[in-house]
Symmetry: D2
Subunit: 344 residues, 4 copies
């Protein structure tokens, strides 16, 4: 089969012919119908500091993890999955037995491995998946849409970390997850959705997914004032951090009302100054959000997708063949696309 | 002023000329622009067993409690309310100082009085309200719509007693509160809303407010089977009881999935047989819902109304003048209307 | 090995020599050091209506499920368990893959099997356990104490279904679980623990485990009045139902304050009349409690046991050899013991 | 009457004869029997940067806010309080009508005034209190103990921000609030309490109130390693920040387990660097804690005090007469005392 390998400790990738993986008893073999490029893949492609540290030891290996495909072979112990099932991959391969896994927190498993980071991934014609990580899709959802369920899941986890109906929400960072969050807030009855970013294209997507107010930080002179005036001077009820910058975090806290909720999904390049006293005096509830709750998040995402409450189709701006995957990376580096799907 | 009195311990009402109420320091005087008929008023009108027991001692007095009007006079201590403000009434006049009031549960105040039950009510040209019970409305909402906020509030309290987005919900009882609940579930992203009643007109309203499935118990042969098949054989995630019948309660529990949520607003004529072991084995979370949370519920309701997430206009089927209020009662007795509004 | 079989559809048991079970890849073989008699075993022994219905088809089989022992053999996939480990059994053998299992609710698994009910149990010298059901004990806890962890777990699940510190609690039913609940409430800082039962011996245990007030319903003339006067006339903050009788349930609701918590563990012989309107008006939060949360409950129980916050030693009133197990049953039938431990 | 005034914008205080305050309709006059010195008072006494900014405009005025006394006069509208009642003061004088006050968050009222900061305080023979801020004490608790309820309340709010029973807890900062927190965790069944500070005297108090492990950061070489080894290498379940230093905050987060709870009461002199990515990856739940929940916290504190679950007597190390109050401040500046009580 064809697969996309990271072979050298430098920017780039390599497409190689390789053997179809052999599955274990508790695995299924999936023919990848669609796989998409995530921010993590960008780090790996560019081979930045994070990638060097995190996966220097793993190369050469196949990367990629967002996926939708069809089961073509099942192991002996795969709990009822059958050939022909459409599945996506939950990326966190958890041990199922540590303290976290046994107390409803598999997503922060103490022994977690990440698909396409610690193991061979989905930028390939076939991938072997532990059956517990193969999430069965509704066959009505096309593969090129279903592959976006993984980022949707991050958004679901973050948005539904607390109440949304009737709330005023600020969302910082209009990448694919941020845009999904806008759509989810809309579907769930948020009273006002304020989307903040500094790229015009991204803000256009935000608008399209239902944002009530758009704040372009590249143009807006006084972001704080704008948000406060959109929230009756009190601040937002809910703040979702999906930008991963200190500026976004601190602005989000400043424009959050006392007693408000801050759900932080963004990953920040390094520690930064925080006005913790403000968090204390305001009585803010802040949560770090990691991955997707396994599998509450997936059930909710499936339910919202199948009932048509959210439509991911418009998130996908580009499709390429596997052999053209570098064009996909270039599109994203130039910030010309939102979600880029590869169809092997 | 004209007012609707309950004067005799028997079915009926009496319209009398009476003095405009004098307000106390912590009260406002409201010119009633719209007031509507609630189930409670029906009990009082018909003078059934409940009414005899509950308010036998109060007559003669003015009844009615759903309202929207304009402040025409303010007491000395009324915290910033001014003439011209549009207000509705929170019906629970709480003491503000008992254990419940001081722990965030004013709606179950130990010394509560009910407007229009324990005090003179809103079926009148003017009503005196404690300023804490005068909820300031958005002036964009017409009075004849704003008066329906009180039942909307009951629905808000019940629906948002737990998560809704992406959930499958059964709602039993399509009176005005049930219909509002349908609309709220729709606005908040419920995946499937199953509305159950036995009156065609009511089910039509449910459909109109967004119900995905309609179950007419007067026609359906096997209600349980129908609901189970609509919920993948697992049962609903959420069950909202707004019918106040033992049949509805028991069917709701039977068709609720293990680990599901049951929020019970209905008031039942008498104790009835419950299969408590089923509640135990299923690990059901059940809450009794009384009134509206003061004032979380009102803020949520206002927010949803002002942002257009729910539209109450279509709930109002009839309008009458105060002097024609008996026509309103007759309409409801014949089950020909949903919400009947009186404009004094 | 010796084992206790249910062979006939009638009262009684049979001790037979049988083969030591062969384990599967994901199982461990445990040498049973202590096993104890639970209420469920009493039903099976007596062969009452419940037993006939629930396990009529399973006989002949080995019953019993409360246990502590030592691992003497491990399967290939048993996740780090080793020979010599001390383990108890979580009784609910869950599938690990259904909706409930994948959303943090394994204890209400859709495909659950119960150890000693649906499978061969622990009244034997050896038992085969799925590794996921083998809970590793602190070796400092003697086996005859560790076997009581399973009922302790039920109590932990019920007591910590909500807040306890500083609360007034009524606990109905002073069987082993009720008595454990008393001890847990004491350890967790309940302000006042009111224990209700009608057997003197049981109430003595309650006192010994830390109950502040004892209510003997066989002697007390006005139980409601007593409880209300012990709770400042307001009612208890928390009501734990561990008696499984309609009288206890209804008295518990009547003496619960508005806004209070009712956690119901008791299993009731049949449906009974409930004043649901009272639950509604009081705004009560009621939960059905089934089994133990897997494995939050076990972690909490272990933590409380190991740190000495609760001492189960005094719960064990009798020890018998396996061949004398009928004496154990007789002791309990005569209500002369609390927890009866069998040491094979 | 005698009262302690802040008259000059500089370190120090002044004792002056002044008139007994006149009460308004909704106030009570309290004869102060005991009042105690809090950290806030230290800032005011020393007239540091915070004090200059926060209350530069208020001087001259009477400061102090921790108190217990006896009502000697009641206004017309004081809801049942009577002469002779023993009361302490809730320091947050809330408006009762803003968004926060009407949604169960009076402690973060948008218009809050602080007793002894924005109004005349309790370092005096008499103080006028709004009846809603006069918390009725159990007369069995001596005044010199009851005055310490206000810091106890901070500890109650922080400790019971989540579950405690069976949990491992780190508490940073062994001032009076930290020490109260230790006592509360003990009373509520924490499995292991790890107290961290750098003053020997304070750690002695921690030990005395029930800390299981003492970490003296002035001596310990590797604080992180110590805490991790005391928590099975996983980190603590709960982290309570009561030191108000960046070192404590960051160490607390580093030694908190994934999925753990961080409740932050400390007030920090300025913004500082936080490793937010760690909070995200660990999925930490963090809350800012301000004041005391009004009045859930007070009910819990009262309940724990009256039932003897926590004993504040040993917290009080010094008593002085009002005229000797400067000796009290000196004692605390030299860190020779824990809670210093003034008896006017």
């Amino acid at each position: 089969m064809k697969a996309v390998w990271k072979t050298q400790p430098e920017e780039g990738l390599e497409i190689r012919e390789t053997q179809v993986p052999k599955i274990k008893e508790d695995q299924v073999l999936v023919k990848v119908k669609a796989t998409s490029i995530c921010g993590t893949d960008m780090h790996i492609y560019k081979w930045d500091e994070w990638a060097q540290k995190r996966i220097g030891k793993n190369i050469p290996y196949i990367f990629g993890h967002e996926m939708s495909g069809e089961i073509v072979e099942v192991g002996k112990n795969t709990n009822g999955l059958v050939m022909g099932d459409h599945v996506s991959a939950e990326t966190h391969i958890s041990c199922g037995y540590c303290f976290q896994c046994r107390t409803g927190n598999e997503h922060i498993c103490e022994n977690v491995k990440i698909l396409g980071v610690d193991t061979n991934g989905t930028f390939a014609e076939y991938v072997a998946l532990p059956y517990r990580n193969a999430w069965k899709n509704d066959k009505k959802i096309p593969h090129w849409v279903a592959t976006a369920q993984e980022p949707l899941g991050n958004a679901v986890h973050t948005v539904f970390d607390g109440e949304i109906a009737g709330k005023t929400v600020t969302i910082f960072g209009m990448g694919p997850i941020g845009v999904c969050a806008v759509g989810l807030c809309k579907a769930a009855g948020a009273a006002k959705i304020i989307a903040i970013d500094r790229h015009e294209l991204r803000l256009k997507f935000a608008k399209d997914f239902g944002a009530d107010v758009i704040v372009d930080t590249s143009k807006e002179k006084d972001v704080k004032k704008t948000i406060m005036s959109e929230t009756d001077g009190r601040g937002a009820d809910v703040f979702l951090e999906m930008a991963g910058t200190s500026e976004a975090f601190n602005m989000g806290i400043q424009t959050l009302r006392a007693g408000g909720r801050a759900s932080i999904l963004g990953v920040f390049p390094k520690p930064f100054e925080v006005d913790m006293t403000q968090i204390v005096f305001k009585g803010i509830k802040l949560s770090g959000i990691n991955g997707r709750k396994m599998f509450d998040t997936w059930y909710t995402a499936k339910s919202l997708l199948s009932s048509g409450k959210i439509d991911l189709k418009k998130l996908v701006t580009h499709k390429f063949k596997l052999t053209d995957i570098e064009k996909g990376f270039e599109t994203l580096i130039k910030r010309e696309g939102m979600k880029v799907v590869i169809e092997p």
